[in-house]
Symmetry: C2
Subunit: 346 residues, 2 copies
């Protein structure tokens, strides 16, 4: 990986030497699209169930017989979304068993969708409870992964809690207090996190710990913050704001209005160095601190292309939760900090 | 400070756009020289004391009458060294009272040196105990700052402990166990730290906390480390090694031999972007992490020109220690983590 510095700086590919961000080299051949949720997914009109219990049984048995996978069974809702697909791909690579049944929106109800090389039976909103109970009965160690839409978060959580199946909630939005409450009340195991990028969570946590332990350590320092996301993201990065709050405790004054948002694809390509195929789905952040006399600088960057990091973090959360379920832990609700504290599980 | 990104990236000055490191803009007009200790300073031949008690008294009174400084009195050993001078300058700016007496090496003994606009009486190794006792009697709140040489560390600490004067030991080397022991045994207040760059200590501590809390969080990630120092520094940066140890706990394998040491001034100027006047004294570090599929990268940089950061950190340590002395704290030995935890004191 390390090229000779005399030719090209080790981690700035030739065409990117003028770029502001040191983006990952392998971005150009991986992932695509955005991590925004498919808004067509999981709306809630009532339709009839599309497959009988016998059909479900046969479909599950057919899937099981074609693999000898005895590992953690997971159900991914919704399997046709971009995050759903990314999770299925990551789950396959990690050796998890992805149950070929999924909950989708009304339009997908009754369809058999080809996703990642297998056929998924998709159920719409009606009879989901009996379908989920059926699958949970077949796979007692089942864990559900939810990447649907904000408007479905609470109804979906209610469903998982009613049936009693552990779940990983990757979907953002909805009523988070209500989400937490239903899980607490039903004593169902869950990992709930709006940020599934485990390493980004680790970085943010390190900043928070530094700010809490060493208040005012960077008093007098000035801060510049730049972030680049796909053009459709109109608001400033929540992660950037969280990091800025840490710097505030560290003694650095900074107005959130000063965050430099890069949304112009031309700037992203030419100045920031985002690979073209990731213009529609990336999250680049840079924080630059300078001492009052400008003899010292610190810089932190975290640059994400596509959604692989979130899919991998989700798999980590699934494996973590499976352990907690198996050990009958007395704690039920977890977040990515808990997953991080557990250490590397694979 | 924030230039328009459409013209020049906010923190890469025009001539540095191809540089690897984002170095501080103001470096070119500040500081100079190296932070290496003046090896001629504080050797230990025996010579006679150069000024009588009366002369000392008159010298101190003359200095005191020309200021109305009632703040913390400090004695800087050795005042003619590069770090000594930097500390005196920072102390003046911070409103501390720098006592115009200093311990130096044999060659300087008996001299009156002009440093930072005032005259310092420098004493050689002989009769230092009575001189120090004299000054301490005159200034009961005195704190000594030691930036001498490794070979003088233990004898100097023995002296400070014998007289009972609190001190900040910025000099590296010597027998550190013995240093700690003499301080513990004599119950003298001291801040001992080989790294006085407070913010660098904060960054390193944050990395250590992240590694301890989230072991294996970056498993599978690859790491590149590059550091640049003045050509006279032949070994790899100790700070870089400490950060690499953290990454090891975070699951990243890395051999210390893989650290890329930049020592060629031409590379430092053209590739790294070190300002010319700081080629002889700088400490630039960059750590770059990439995910296994190269869709994610993290980068951390800490870049220091000159020695201002160490001088400012020393002043923070002095102010911190003065508080501990005044409050008669039950703890005597402190390091920069303790200073950091205290928060901003000015």
């Amino acid at each position: 990986m390390a090229a000779s510095l005399l030719k090209v700086p080790a981690y700035i590919p030739q065409q990117q030497q003028n770029h502001l961000f040191f983006f990952p080299r392998g971005c150009s051949s991986r992932s695509s699209g955005t991590i925004s949720h498919n808004k067509r997914l999981c709306m809630l009109p009532v339709v009839s169930m599309s497959a009988s219990p016998l059909q479900l049984q046969l479909h599950l048995e057919k899937s099981a017989s074609s693999t000898q996978n005895i590992s953690i069974p997971i159900m991914v809702n919704g399997c046709s979304g971009k995050m759903g697909k990314a999770v299925i791909k990551a789950a396959d690579a990690a050796g998890l068993h992805v149950v070929p049944i999924s909950f989708g929106c009304d339009e997908e109800s009754g369809q058999a969708l080809q996703v990642c090389g297998r056929e998924f039976l998709v159920h719409g909103p009606s009879d989901r409870e009996s379908v989920l109970a059926f699958v949970f009965d077949k796979y007692p160690n089942l864990i559900v992964v939810d990447y649907t839409v904000p408007t479905a978060v609470n109804d979906n959580a209610d469903l998982y809690c009613k049936v009693g199946v552990p779940f990983v909630m990757g979907t953002t939005g909805g009523d988070r207090d209500q989400l937490r409450k239903i899980v607490e009340d039903s004593k169902v195991y869950a990992v709930i996190s709006p940020q599934m990028g485990k390493q980004v969570v680790a970085f943010l946590a390190a900043m928070e710990i530094m700010a809490e332990q060493f208040p005012g350590a960077f008093s007098g320092y000035s801060l510049e913050v730049m972030e680049s996301h796909q053009a459709s993201k109109v608001d400033a990065s929540g992660t950037a704001k969280a990091v800025i709050s840490c710097f505030s405790k560290l003694g650095v004054s900074f107005d959130m209005d000063q965050i430099q948002l890069i949304r112009d694809p031309k700037q992203q390509l030419e100045m920031v160095g985002v690979p073209e195929e990731h213009l529609s789905g990336h999250a680049f952040h840079m924080y630059h601190l300078s001492s009052p006399d400008e003899t010292v600088s610190f810089e932190f960057q975290h640059n994400v292309c596509g959604r692989s990091i979130y899919a991998e973090g989700t798999i980590d959360a699934v494996i973590f939760l499976a352990k907690k379920v198996q050990s009958k832990d007395s704690k039920y609700i977890y977040n990515m900090i808990d997953v991080l504290r557990e250490g590397n599980m694979r």
